[in-house]
């Protein structure tokens, strides 16, 4: 039984097979979905402070007759593009760009769609020097103040704080073969065993598949993928994602702003309520 009543699709894949599908080189990326959802998508650039982060695509487009802000991690397809987009790993400028666009959406009352597909924030010296921790922290806090509906979907990898920095939304859904985790299996193995080759064991313990997340009440819905995975049919996967995101957005559009923000607060404040530590320690809602 899940909090939201929808049962996840059955699977015969092992956890590691799901991880490999989530990272499949031919899997559709954010722009593949955004261009199908909003063919008139216009990309916007820059954090208005110091730079533009190509690991995050941002822009506006018409989606179901409504101007919508789209944000999404973008992994590159070719090696050259992968390097340019840093494999979808954001620097501080990316989180600042996201919040800039969130404020843009708030000004015009546009809803926001976030697509999550990142191994994590960039674990490099440059990101540290420019304040990646504070950028993620600030973004997570700011998302709770953005007074327009936000729907998010994990479309591939949801890795660590780098994913959560783009994942504070009123509804969060997952594609069937995507993962969402406190750390990538390699990073978790490196932390727990000090040996990142124990990644398969780590993945099996982390409970990071869409079914696990749905059972824990962390996501609202799992969107089924075509047999064999999303990479076998971009159009069908995009259509299923479109339908689910749009369905989740509908009730949010008419919600008063105060109520929207209060519900967003409660969604995360009591997100662990299904597994709270002690009977008297649970949520009081």
């Amino acid at each position: 039984m899940t909090r939201h009543g929808r049962r996840p699709p059955q699977t015969t894949l092992s956890v590691w097979q799901v991880v490999e599908l989530a990272r499949h080189a031919d899997r559709p990326y954010s722009l593949d979905y955004i261009r199908r959802l909003a063919p008139d998508f216009i990309e916007l650039h820059g954090d208005r402070l110091s730079g533009d982060d190509p690991a995050l695509v941002a822009g506006i487009g018409t989606w179901h007759d409504r101007t919508t802000v789209f944000l999404g991690h973008q992994k590159g397809r070719s090696l050259k593009e992968r390097v340019a987009r840093n494999w979808g790993m954001m620097h501080p400028e990316g989180y600042r760009k996201a919040i800039r666009l969130a404020n843009h959406a708030a000004k015009f009352n546009f809803p926001i769609v976030c697509l999550i597909d990142t191994p994590g924030a960039y674990p490099g010296a440059g990101a540290e020097e420019r304040g990646i921790a504070a950028a993620i922290a600030g973004a997570i806090m700011q998302w709770f103040r953005v007074p327009v509906p936000i729907v998010a979907a994990v479309i591939g990898e949801g890795g660590s704080g780098g994913a959560l920095g783009m994942g504070v939304a009123d509804r969060v859904i997952m594609l069937e073969n995507s993962i969402y985790s406190v750390a990538s299996p390699e990073a978790a193995a490196s932390i727990v065993w000090r040996d990142n080759t124990r990644k398969v064991e780590a993945a099996e313990q982390l409970q990071l598949t869409s079914r696990d997340l749905l059972a824990m009440g962390v996501v609202e819905e799992v969107v089924p993928e075509p047999a064999g995975g999303a990479q076998t049919d971009f159009d069908a996967t995009a259509a299923a994602l479109d339908e689910a995101l749009h369905r989740h957005l509908q009730p949010l559009l008419t919600q008063p702003r105060d109520e929207l923000l209060q519900h967003r607060y409660e969604r995360f404040r009591y997100i662990d309520s299904l597994v709270h530590a002690e009977p008297h320690f649970g949520p009081k809602i």
Binding site: A121, P123, A125, E128, I132, G161, V275, A277
Partner: protein, 275 residues
């Protein structure tokens, strides 16, 4: 005049600090260490080396004698994910509880220089001070109470990040706690953070760096990704002092680097001048 007098009366430590295990010689200067002397100097060596303190020592350090009232101390973490290797999570937390440790975050109310505050202290000895469901819940509840009572909120951070053994629910604590930090700010409640060695990962990328005033301890390592993982991921050689308190001061991430022996006076002063 009255305020100046009160300020002068703020001692280095609120109460006598508990003993902590120390090496025979200081890693900073190599001098032989005397537990009793160090204890009176808040475990700071004459050379300036700051020894790590647990939550019990931090609470004794911050709180005026006899004013500490712990909240939600009776709740404990459980193994939710059936985490078995390399060590069962339940055995890990049971063993730490037997050693007298009570989660990676303890929270409650106390007075500092006579002013009532909410205090939360991480404890690095408990699974690396990692953010867990219980830790996140204690933090968020304390902040919500600070919002309703208007008491200033003081955080002492020492953490490796989110707790792997609680999976994605540990990650979600970052959002839970940051939502509460947002409410502190919206309500005009002063929020001060003391960043001690080490403050990393999901803790640095959530509440620790979001205070009104970020105060780092000298020599504390503060950052998002730890140096070992940076080297593993990018093969980069990191310069000496990378992610140190002074490094973060120079890059605009903290407001000041303050020795522990001057910290209480500073905090007492801040509590006077922030309404």
């Amino acid at each position: 005049m009255q305020l100046a007098k009160q300020r002068a009366e703020v001692r280095i430590t609120g109460a006598t600090l508990p003993p902590i295990p120390l090496p025979t010689n200081c890693p900073g200067c190599g001098v032989g260490l005397d537990q009793e002397v160090l204890r009176k100097h808040a475990y700071v060596c004459e050379c300036g080396h700051h020894f790590r303190m647990g939550a019990d020592a931090w609470i004794a350090f911050v709180a005026d004698r006899g004013t500490w009232k712990e909240r939600w101390g009776d709740v404990r973490s459980h193994d939710l994910l059936n985490w078995k290797v390399p060590k069962p999570y339940q055995a890990t937390i049971d063993q730490l509880a037997e050693e007298g440790l009570n989660e990676a975050v303890r929270t409650g109310t106390c007075a500092l220089g006579g002013r009532a505050i909410w205090l939360a202290s991480f404890d690095f000895r408990f699974v690396g001070g990692t953010l867990s469901i219980v830790a996140g819940e204690r933090l968020a509840r304390g902040m919500e109470q600070a919002v309703s009572s208007g008491l200033p909120y003081l955080l002492v951070a020492a953490s490796g990040g989110a707790r792997m053994q609680e999976g994605v629910l540990a990650l979600m604590q970052m959002a839970k706690v940051n939502a509460a930090v947002g409410r502190l700010h919206a309500a005009g409640v002063p929020y001060f953070a003391v960043l001690t060695d080490p403050t990393f990962g999901g803790t640095a990328a959530s509440l620790a760096l979001l205070a009104d005033i970020n105060i780092a301890e000298p020599g504390a390592a503060i950052g998002f990704t730890g140096p070992r993982v940076i080297k593993q991921a990018t093969y980069a050689d990191l310069p000496p002092g990378f992610q140190s308190a002074d490094f973060q001061l120079a890059r605009g991430q903290v407001d000041m680097v303050v020795p522990r022996t001057e910290l209480r006076r500073l905090l007492a002063h801040l509590l006077e001048i922030y309404p």
